[in-house]
């Protein structure tokens, strides 16, 4: 299929992009890597009036450090992420999840920010961002910037805190350095399929005790979710199969996953428990 006709803008700076978005009329779609947007447009499930293509906005691409944070430009591609030395050192959970996104060709085009702004609950990166308490830096009309925490960024199915006229500029995540173990445990039927359920876990050990735990759930509701009960059960607990298994049993608490041809809700909840156990065990080095 061929997308419906649209007006096209290809800004080279954030300011130009904001202007293009503002000038784009009622129905503007911001295109990052386009790897989800173009197929949807080809199927004519989306037919925006204007597409603002960010691929030439070079200032949005790249990873830098700022104190205890990693700052990831929204147009950093998945491939960039996988090659980045700062990510390799401080962003292993992001790297693990990114490796599972689609396939190499898609990862060459698809972007970190695009995947987050698309906010598909079956996407792999939203749950990671949520688990890491990422901060979303958003530029608005005129260039004003605001920062939204991940917990407030993912509003609903394919819906974020991004308002009309706004642009996701960068994502700040805490560096997870020494002492942290991570695991992205993804479950799908075939390799290139979207997650049926996945669990992002980061665990910091202090000796034989779990000092911190961050657990995000992919595709367990209309937004990515934190497995708060599991996190609370883990913190301060001994690192043992028993404690991890007991904690993971709470992974599906409060979730309302969908039923579709890959899985019905009760099975998704079961998977969340099993995969959380596996992810935490791996992250904790068990």
């Amino acid at each position: 299929m061929i997308p419906a006709a649209f007006a096209y803008a290809r800004p080279t700076t954030v300011d130009e992009a904001l202007s293009a978005i503002a000038a784009g009329g009622e129905d503007v779609k911001i295109m990052a890597g386009g790897q989800s947007l173009i197929p949807v447009m080809r199927l004519r499930l989306a037919a925006p009036e204007t597409v603002v293509d960010l691929t030439k906005v070079t200032e949005l691409r790249g990873v830098r450090e700022d104190g205890d944070s990693l700052v990831i430009g929204s147009m950093t591609t998945h491939s960039d992420i996988l090659r980045d030395p700062l990510i390799a050192r401080y962003g292993k959970l992001i790297a693990e999840a990114t490796e599972t996104v689609a396939d190499p060709a898609v990862r060459h085009r698809g972007t970190f920010g695009g995947a987050l702004a698309h906010a598909d609950p079956a996407g792999d990166l939203p749950a990671v961002a949520l688990a890491l308490d990422a901060e979303f830096v958003i530029a608005g009309p005129g260039g004003a910037r605001r920062s939204v925490p991940a917990a407030a960024f993912f509003v609903d199915y394919l819906t974020t805190a991004l308002e009309d006229g706004e642009l996701l500029v960068e994502i700040r995540v805490p560096k997870l350095g020494e002492g942290w173990g991570v695991r992205y445990e993804k479950f799908n039927r075939v390799a290139q399929a979207w997650s049926i359920v996945a669990v992002a876990a980061a665990v910091r050990r202090e000796g034989s005790t779990i000092a911190e735990a961050r657990i995000g759930l992919t595709n367990m509701g209309s937004t990515p979710l934190r497995a708060t009960a599991v996190e609370q059960a883990l913190v301060g607990a001994d690192v043992s199969l028993e404690t991890v298994t007991a904690a993971a049993a709470q992974a599906a608490e409060g979730t309302e996953p969908s039923s579709d041809l890959n899985a019905q809700a009760d099975y998704r909840q079961h998977l969340a428990r099993v995969l959380t156990g596996r992810a935490v065990r791996a992250a904790a080095g068990l």
């Binding site: 061929i2 997308p3 649209f6 173009i38 190499p104 060709a105 898609v106 060459h108 390799a191 290139q192």
Partner: protein
């Protein structure tokens, strides 16, 4: 219409395209590069894989306007005159194709794979081509072809081939 300048398989083109024109349709319909084919609507099958500035992309999921100022390499541009690219030769010698429809994309994805990982394991090869569907071969001979090409490319050159 937007004017684009693009190099494809070593030749320069200047064309007017609609923004909605997909790169694969531009290649096929405006440039006659029909070696690259379309197999799906959702970027699952990878039949349309080409290299954009040296990296594999699915040309059905890139707009032609996005290739402005870029270098595109298709299946038609990888042989050195009459000398096949080692990956093409390997697909032939290992019977890594039957109907041949997925083959252009599969070869382009495989070349990209070796560029990033010159000596992949079987698992890494399978992972590297997971975005390319083949309905004929069951993949066993494709994996063998990539293994053969990896061996030849690493033994006959020191990086020039990639």
């Amino acid at each position: 219409m937007t004017q684009i300048n693009v190099r494809v398989d070593g030749a320069s083109y200047v064309d007017d395209v609609e923004p909605r024109t997909l790169l694969v349709h531009y290649l096929r319909e405006q440039l006659g590069k029909v070696g690259t084919v379309v197999g799906c609507d959702t970027s699952n099958c990878g039949a349309c894989t080409v290299h954009l500035d040296g990296e594999s992309v699915k040309s059905c999921t890139v707009l032609a306007v996005q290739a402005d100022g870029s270098e595109v390499t298709t299946i038609e541009g990888i042989a050195d005159g009459a000398t096949l690219h080692p990956m093409q030769k390997a697909f032939h010698e290992q019977h890594g194709l039957q109907c041949g429809y997925c083959t252009p994309g599969m070869i382009m994805a495989s070349i990209d794979l070796l560029k990033n990982n010159p000596n992949p394991s079987e698992h890494e090869i399978r992972e590297g081509i997971e975005g390319n569907l083949c309905r004929c071969t069951g993949y066993v001979n494709i994996v063998r072809a990539v293994q053969q090409a990896a061996g030849e490319m690493s033994s006959t050159t020191t990086g020039a081939q990639a």
